[in-house]
């Protein structure tokens, strides 16, 4: 992930991604996923390139990109911590876990810590509802979160 990518570079790398995926049926979501993988977010400058390569309007591509919760328009922190906020996790004290995590990390949901260490995001179910409350840190899963897990997660993102 690189927050300071030159515009020309973004255009070029985006064009390569579109080139590789354009033959798919309905390629826009796979392309946006790939662009986000490449840059860590979907840079503003990538949208007109995707639009012109796929022969779509810019508004259309912008509309799709902003509809989905997964795509971000600026870089995330070095770590992304997703806390499940859905009912099964609520029933096992998920709200308290969220409050504690927000306090310890000094961020609210959808925010990145000032030192760039972590972005906190809500997620509605990770399919771990029988071992709630649950979280995902950079793709790693944690179930039955207790005070120890919270401490471990905080230590992990601060490392």
């Amino acid at each position: 992930m690189n927050a300071h990518v030159a515009n020309g570079d973004i255009a070029e790398r985006t064009r390569a991604i579109v080139g590789a995926l354009r033959s798919l049926e309905g390629p826009l979501l796979p392309i946006l996923h790939e662009v986000q993988d490449e840059f860590g977010y979907v840079p503003h400058e990538a949208l007109p390139v995707i639009a012109s390569e796929l022969n779509l309007s810019r508004a259309e591509v912008h509309g799709v990109m902003t509809f989905y919760h997964d795509y971000r328009d600026h870089p995330a922190g070095r770590h992304v911590l997703k806390l499940c906020r859905a009912e099964a996790c609520q029933s096992m004290g998920g709200d308290a876990v969220a409050d504690r995590m927000k306090t310890l990390l000094g961020v609210d949901f959808h925010q990145t810590a000032l030192d760039g260490s972590v972005t906190l995001e809500p997620v509605y179910c990770l399919g771990l509802c029988a071992c709630a409350p649950a979280a995902m840190l950079d793709g790693e899963l944690y179930g039955r979160i207790d005070d120890q897990t919270i401490a471990d997660l905080v230590a992990e993102v601060r490392r």
């Binding site: 798919l24 796979p30 799709v64 859905a86 709630a132």
Partner: protein, 518 residues
């Protein structure tokens, strides 16, 4: 002879430390020079026992669980590789009541086999259904599925055979099978488990659907919150292609069928079938008005079968054992088995596949063992965020589509979330509205605006502001959303809200504190 030790790689097992346990087991095997190999299976679905380590001893699988890394050395000291005794030893896994009393048709192999071994899959009955379907006329395959009584497990409960028949009869340049693996409901994980634990059964089910309807291409749309399922499914599709199960000639039948795995982008509404189709096409996931039905004009305007993971994964056993075999399980118009997903504040949470008809109380108290916190059960939400909250007084309701509907509830994808007596039902009602507001596709006003108004109104009730008037307003909003929404997101959000108000009125009473302060 080499011993096989099983350590699950199901996402929930991983969330409970299975990866580190597997590493520790590997180390012990090497350090002790034991002739053993590790197999990473799916989960048996008993999550209070995960990570559940199993060892095969003279044809029987002996289990140990829940195993922590620090237990591993002691387990080997006790002779784990030969099924030795230890405090964590559970005896023969298949003999545990939770597993023994189930009827596992769809989940028969989940947790048992190596998910990515076709050899294992076939040795446990895999591909028998597809082989049979390949020898049958498409209409006969459809007939078999219709007669089995299988209804869509994704929520709406629509008869699968009838949907397939519509697509078989539809004319189109090409046809598609779309598997809805967006499983967004809280309390549900059956789709995830089958994709991680027995991916070939879904592939087989989709291939049968393709042969039955003349569709040549399938898509599996998996939510991005399930990276492990995406990885396993992608690998399984490749393996199936290499083995001729998918491709230009499915099992040498001369008929083509291929599958592509796609990743969602974090929108709950994309589980709604028409919104999912828009998403696959690369559009905003807004809901389409019906008609036209997807069966007539679905993906890229072609005739499309769109089915839930479990619906499709239930088809191979129907083709293998016949419609009558499957139909003989269940009650009323709810035929076959249903994978109950028991979750939330529960002692024995997990996946329990059984014929329709058990009572809700039986599921919660006997099978689930009551709450994890040991406190009394107060409410049970069945069917995800759009499902009703049931009080204990409705515990005699049998698990059946019609019986739940008769009590103003739904079984949805069969997720069962248990709450103890500390739950505040006004807060849960507020959450239902908030969730709807966050996830609304925005197409219709009752859902888009009504849900936000619902949150505000719930807040006013909580603050004791004109409680009676605001309770009436909340009920009215629910009514408007129920009848004025295009799809079930706005249309069913009233279920959790209204059920909370009806069954738990005390939680909606004004707080005496604020009244006293006025």
């Amino acid at each position: 002879m080499s011993v096989t030790i099983y350590v699950p790689r199901d996402a929930a097992a991983l969330a409970l430390g299975a990866e580190k346990v597997a590493e520790a087991v590997t180390q012990e095997i090497a350090a002790r020079g034991i002739d053993a190999k590790i197999m990473r299976n799916g989960s048996r679905g008993m999550f209070w026992l995960e990570p559940l380590v199993e060892v095969e001893v003279s044809g029987k699988r002996i289990g140990y669980g829940p195993v922590k890394v620090k237990d591993v050395a002691a387990l080997f000291d006790a002779g784990l590789e030969s099924g030795g005794d230890h405090a964590l030893c559970l005896g023969e896994v298949e003999g545990l009541p939770f597993l023994k009393e189930q009827t596992r048709l769809t989940f028969a192999r989940c947790g048992v086999v190596d998910p990515l071994s076709l050899k294992d899959y076939e040795a446990h009955g895999g591909l028998a259904g597809l082989r049979r379907a390949a020898d049958m006329a498409p209409a006969d395959v459809v007939k078999e599925v219709t007669e089995s009584g299988l209804r869509g497990r994704g929520g709406a409960g629509f008869p699968t055979g009838i949907k397939w028949k519509t697509v078989l009869d539809a004319v189109g340049e090409r046809k598609y099978i779309v598997c809805n693996a967006d499983e967004g409901d809280s309390g549900t994980f059956a789709d995830r488990m089958i994709m991680e634990g027995d991916p070939f059964v879904l592939i087989e089910g989709m291939a049968i659907a393709g042969l039955a309807t003349g569709a040549t291409k399938g898509f599996i749309y998996i939510r991005s919150e399930y990276p492990h399922a995406i990885a396993t499914m992608t690998e399984a599709v490749e393996i199936a292609g290499g083995a001729g199960i998918l491709g230009a000639s499915v099992l040498s039948s001369g008929r083509a069928f291929d599958i592509e795995v796609r990743t969602g982008a974090g929108a709950y509404v994309c589980g709604e079938e028409t919104s999912l189709l828009n998403s696959l096409e690369g559009k905003r996931g807004v809901v389409r008005a019906k008609p036209p039905l997807p069966a007539h004009q679905g993906l890229f305007a072609c005739p499309t079968v769109i089915n839930n993971v479990i619906s499709l994964a239930s088809v191979p056993v129907i083709l293998e054992k016949g419609a009558v075999f499957y139909r003989d399980f269940g009650m009323g118009r709810s035929r076959g088995t249903i994978p109950l997903q028991i979750a939330g504040n529960v002692k024995h949470g997990g996946l329990y596949e059984t014929a329709f008809g058990l009572s809700l109380g039986d599921i919660v108290e006997r099978i689930g063992g009551g709450t994890a916190t040991g406190r009394p059960v107060k409410a049970v939400q069945v069917g995800g965020p759009l499902g009703a909250y049931f009080p204990r007084t409705l515990f005699d309701t049998p698990f059946d589509y019609e019986a739940f509907a008769a009590k103003d509830g739904l079984i949805g994808h069969a997720g069962i979330v248990i709450f103890d007596d500390t739950v505040d039902m006004l807060k849960q009602a507020r959450f239902a509205m908030e969730f709807c507001a966050v996830e609304s596709c925005g197409k219709c006003t009752p859902c888009r605006i009504g849900s936000t108004r619902g949150v505000e109104t719930a807040d006013k009730i909580a603050q004791g502001i004109e409680p009676e008037k605001n309770r009436a307003l909340l009920a009215d909003l629910c009514n408007t959303m129920k009848f004025g929404s295009l799809c079930a997101l706005g249309g069913f959000t009233p279920y959790p809200v209204t059920s909370a108000m009806t069954h738990f009125p005390d939680d909606f009473a004004p707080t005496p504190l604020i009244e006293a302060a006025e």
